[in-house]
């Protein structure tokens, strides 16, 4: 079981967290979003082997935050509060 650092609550077991997707997946908006562009937003992920910036929600406090985690070794390098409109 991985140990994730919630920026607000400190280190907690991964079962308290919910994965929210890759960070930086900007929602395309407006009248002329192409189907490809939208599909890319919905479904296509870089899924890198190695360090990856991820959005997580700490379910017990309700906060979303950004965590840099190596998807291969599971080493967590950093976690920081979600600034809100950050891409």
């Amino acid at each position: 079981m991985q140990l994730f650092p919630c920026p607000f609550c400190g280190p907690r077991d991964e079962t308290e967290f919910h994965y929210g997707g890759e960070a930086g997946n900007v929602r395309p908006e407006g009248a002329n979003v192409s189907a490809d562009f939208w599909a890319n937003y919905l479904w296509f992920r870089a899924n890198p082997t190695g360090p990856s910036r991820e959005i997580w929600m700490h379910m017990t406090c309700g906060e979303f935050f950004v965590m840099t985690r190596d998807a291969s070794t599971h080493v967590v390098a950093d976690s920081s509060p979600n600034s809100g409109r950050e891409p």
């Binding site: 991985q2 140990l3 809100g84």
Partner: protein, 959 residues
């Protein structure tokens, strides 16, 4: 035949406390401190189990967790535990042990004849043979014979397992010389330390191997070290197995407490782990090397020094390394006639062993049921009642490898050992390849010092130091089916050769094809031998062949320990209503609905008549039901209106305060995620009502969007679902009923019309009434704080008697809403349903602003003409209801194709005929058409219509 208990000796047994237990129906004597295996050996019981495949007689091989043979089912402490290793399980008075895989007993097993067919049952035999007509036709019979141990479904552990969460700076696995040296170092540095050992007493090899440490006998030093550690505050857990290392140094421990309850599970989060788990002795390959009486040389020394048991009178010690000489000397000193067969030309002479033959190997063991002698490669035979073997040592690297440590082949050990520590875990002592006692102690101290410092002096050992000088032997002269590589899985040298010949040369394939290294011992004694033999056969280096993947658990761990409290009703705990007691008092029959325990109907009985009556009465006069499970999430702040517009498919900011609107929430892929009513309580205040089973998910989704794109200082979300209880009064007489209740609200329709909400007062406390209907009749949802719910409920019931109101459960409510064509999310919608499939195309066509899922409603998929759409389905009067889940079908050539399915189906007591909802291709444009409905081979006809089957004009909402 002459293993026996000596008159003296045995550091682990208490001769003043004799005990008695049963094995295969036979009385066995032992002492407190014995294991089942040591007591069996003391009683000269040699055949303790039958082998997995061939039902060969098997005896005790080892003295620890690695035991491949001596598995027993143990009835003790009020429960039956299958596949217990007799070498680990303590002998306890009154315990009843039975050998596994034997019937009726290991000595007189009725399947022993199978061994004569051994050469017809090679590796892969079952896969190759039982193919016609198919594997399944044989599976049951084969499985009945296969497997080890018996599970008794009637046996229930006495209570649930404790589970303990702990954290520490350093976790040391193994209380042998390396582990104790590491813990002493960490203790002196003030690091919080937990020391675990799977033995009941500390010391590991120090308990049976000779040595002098800091001037004391090794075993005394070990006991003193533990006393010192306890003084330093180190937590020492004996009889505890570290079975797995998981992510970020979470280590699972199984602690045996000798209680009726299952083992205690510890989840220890350690900043650093030192694995000092020792090494395990390997067998040697020769024919019949599995006969009872053939055992690990080190184990024989354990039985001698810790349990006072000498394992034979005429003993052959076969070795390829130095470590067996201490064993030979000790047994000779204890009175056995010992012959050492050393495969190396230049062995080391024992002190007392009378006969040492260098450069000789065993070719076979002789004996029918048990060992009677040994044959050498020079043709000599030696009469013997016991053959002790030492084929070298395999470092116990399981935990290290689970933590993704890398191994390197070490020729001087003839084994794989850790190539170096990981960042979170290091290995010390024999597990790291140390041979001498001095090196072992130093490596433990050094590993701890690297992690946490510490100034304790490294313990100084004196006396003869161990050497190994191994000259490995991987294969016998002939690779026959009589040379066992893996005792537990009955894998022979011939099986490994067959695997190689059939090109299963990768270790992972070798394992799966032959079952080498599987089952309860996971190949602790056999893996290296098997892969080394594969290397030899295929002409590769052992390092090239590699090892299979090490996965937790290291040793069998009971499910009950892992489950802890999570069993029975706590397996997946249901949410309970504040009014549960009141429902029970009315004779409610409870069922689970979306994680909630709710009344299905009232009054007991078979159900259907009661449900029909409840639904009929609800339409006739009034219904009272508990709607507390509906989600109630408050959205508050200056951005609240903007927020609900974004969250909902329907435009919501146009809603006036005091009014409600039904709406859908979509996922970003345009699929209907939830539905419900939004109430605007004030300019900056909304109340989101969502499906009972969806509250958590909706709340999380609202939080996600809030934090992602809104100003979190100007928007707040609060889940008030459990704070409030809701009772709904519905039906033509609902208003009359409610007007009798002092709620201090104006019930006039001009003040409180359909889809309006207002605050009132119930017994001086807060109360809210919403005119929202899930039945199609005039309805009032009354919400009060949960602790007032019972008062409200009782008053409504009492009043209801005057209005012939029915108290209805969820089942009747389902009928009422289906009559109206009101959907249940996840029931009448599925993972492809979009809002326009439900006849709600308005916002899709009109809204130009952004909302969740908008773009997905205009994809190619979303605009297909053949989408499945919500319809009503009717059958001829007098027919029974359609089956829920039945498929609509149409013919395509000679075959049938599904065009959708029935999502809800009920008998309507009010209408007098069945009603149904369904998702049917192009359904909206097919009204009036008949479709074929197929269920379990039966075909029926149904007519497509509007989802709403009752009160099409909606006049009853205000009646």
């Amino acid at each position: 035949m002459s293993a026996r208990r000596l008159d003296r000796g045995g550091s682990d047994i208490d001769r003043s406390r004799p005990l008695e237990f049963a094995f295969d129906g036979q009385k066995v004597d032992g002492f407190h401190g014995d294991t089942i295996a040591s007591a069996l050996l003391a009683s000269n019981i040699r055949i303790v189990a039958r082998s997995f495949k061939h039902h060969r007689p098997r005896g005790v091989w080892g003295a620890g967790v690695e035991e491949p043979n001596a598995l027993v089912d143990v009835a003790d402490l009020g429960r039956l535990t299958p596949n217990v290793r007799a070498t680990v399980a303590p002998a306890r008075p009154g315990l009843v042990a039975r050998s596994v895989n034997a019937s009726p007993t290991a000595r007189a097993d009725r399947y022993a004849f199978l061994d004569r067919f051994a050469r017809f049952i090679p590796a892969g035999f079952y896969y190759k043979t039982f193919l016609w007509p198919n594997w399944r036709s044989y599976e049951n019979r084969i499985r009945a014979m296969a497997g080890l141990g018996r599970v008794d479904p009637a046996s229930v552990a006495g209570g649930r397992a404790d589970q303990i969460n702990a954290h520490c700076d350093l976790l040391v696995v193994g209380a042998g010389p390396a582990g104790l040296a590491a813990a002493l170092q960490a203790g002196s540095a003030g690091a919080s330390t937990i020391l675990v050992d799977d033995g009941a007493r500390p010391g590991g090899s120090l308990r049976h191997r000779a040595g002098v440490i800091d001037g004391a006998a090794a075993i005394d030093w070990a006991e003193a070290a533990v006393a010192e550690l306890k003084r330093q505050g180190v937590e020492y857990l004996p009889s505890t197995t570290a079975f797995g290392v998981y992510d970020h140094n979470l280590v699972g421990l199984a602690q045996r407490r000798g209680e009726a309850r299952p083992d205690t599970l510890w989840r220890v989060r350690a900043r650093h782990v030192i694995v000092a788990a020792g090494a395990i002795e390997r067998p040697l390959p020769f024919a019949n090397n599995d006969l009872p009486g053939i055992m690990s040389a080190d184990a024989a020394l354990i039985y001698l020094r810790r349990y006072g048991v000498i394992v034979g009178e005429r003993i052959v010690v076969a070795t390829n390394n130095d470590s067996a000489y201490e064993v030979a000397d000790a047994l000779a000193e204890a009175g056995a006639a010992v012959t050492v067969i050393d495969s190396r030309a230049n062995g080391r002479a024992g002190k007392l062993a009378s006969d040492v033959r260098f450069g000789r190997r065993l070719t076979s063991a002789r004996g029918r049921q048990v060992v009677e002698g040994a044959m050498l490669n020079d043709g000599a035979t030696i009469a013997a009642d016991c053959i002790l073997v030492s084929g070298g040592w395999t470092p116990t690297v399981h935990l290290f490898c689970q933590a993704r440590g890398k191994l390197a082949w070490r020729d001087e050990l003839a084994a794989f050992a850790p190539a170096g520590p990981t960042s979170l875990l290091s290995v010390a002592g024999a597990a790291a390849g140390a041979i001498s006692l001095a090196d072992t102690l130093a490596s433990g101290a050094k590993a701890a010092r690297e992690f946490c410092g510490g100034a304790a002096p490294i313990p100084v050992s004196a006396g003869r130091e161990n050497t190994l000088r191994i000259d490995p032997i991987w294969s016998s002269a002939e690779r026959t089916d009589r040379v066992w590589i893996d005792y537990q899985s009955d894998v022979t040298a011939k099986d490994v050769e067959l695997a190689a010949r059939e090109n299963f040369v990768s270790v992972e394939h070798l394992k799966r094809y032959t079952t080498l290294g599987m089952a309860t011992d996971q190949g602790k004694t056999s893996n290296i031998g098997g892969l080394a033999l594969m290397a030899e056969i295929t002409g590769r280096q052992i390092a090239e062949v590699g090892t299979t993947t090490y996965r937790p658990p290291y040793a069998p761990t009971s499910f009950a320990s892992l489950a802890g409290l999570r069993g029975g009703a706590l397996m997946s705990p249901l949410k309970r209503l504040p009014l549960e007691a009141a429902h029970r008092a009315r004779g409610a029959v409870f069922r689970e609905y979306g994680g909630w325990l709710r009344p299905a109907y009232y009054g007991g009985g078979p159900g259907e008549p009661q449900i029909q009556e409840e639904a009929r009465q609800a339409r006739r006069s009034a219904a009272i039901f508990d709607a507390s499970t509906l989600g109630k999430i408050e959205v508050v702040g200056p951005q609240a209106a903007e927020f609900v517009d974004f969250i909902y498919y329907n435009a919501m900011s146009t809603l006036r305060p005091g009014r409600c609107r039904y709406g859908l929430m979509l996922s970003e892929s345009g699929i209907v995620f939830d539905d419900g009513v939004l109430a605007r309580l004030g300019e900056d205040r909304f109340l989101v009502s969502c499906s009972s089973s969806h509250v958590g998910a909706v709340h999380a989704r609202l939080e996600e969007w809030r934090q992602d794109r809104f100003d979190r200082k100007r928007l707040f979300i609060h889940n008030a679902t459990s704070h409030l209880a809701t009772v709904t009064v519905s039906g033509p007489r609902a208003k009359a009923l409610l007007s009798e209740l002092a709620l201090r609200i104006d019930l006039d329709d001009s003040a409180l019309p359909h889809m309006a909400v207002c605050d009132g007062d119930f017994q001086g406390g807060e109360m809210r009434v919403a005119r929202v209907s899930f039945t199609g009749d005039r309805s009032y949802e009354i919400s009060v704080p949960a602790d007032r719910a019972e008062d409200l409920w009782m008053q409504l019931i009492e009043l209801g008697k005057r209005f012939e109101a029915a108290v209805i459960g969820v089942e009747a409510l389902m009928i009422l809403r289906a009559e109206k064509g009101y959907i249940g999310i996840g029931k009448d919608t599925d993972g492809a349903t979009m809002p326009h499939d439900l006849g709600m195309a308005g916002p899709r066509e009109r809204r130009l602003d952004e909302y969740v899922g908008r773009r997905s409603l205009f994809t190619e998929e979303a605009t297909r003409a053949d989408r499945r759409q919500l319809v009503g389905l009717s059958v001829s009067a007098g027919e029974p209801p359609l089956a829920t889940g039945a498929h609509g079908v149409e013919a395509v050539g000679s075959k049938q194709r599904s065009i959708g399915y029935v999502t809800s189906s009920y008998m309507s007591p009010t209408l007098g005929f069945p009603i149904a909802l369904g998702l049917i291709e192009r359904g909206a444009s097919r009204r009036g058409e008949a479709v074929d409905i197929r269920h379990l081979g039966e075909m029926r006809r149904a007519t497509i219509g509007a989802p709403c089957a009752f009160d099409l004009g909606g006049t009853r909402l205000n009646a």
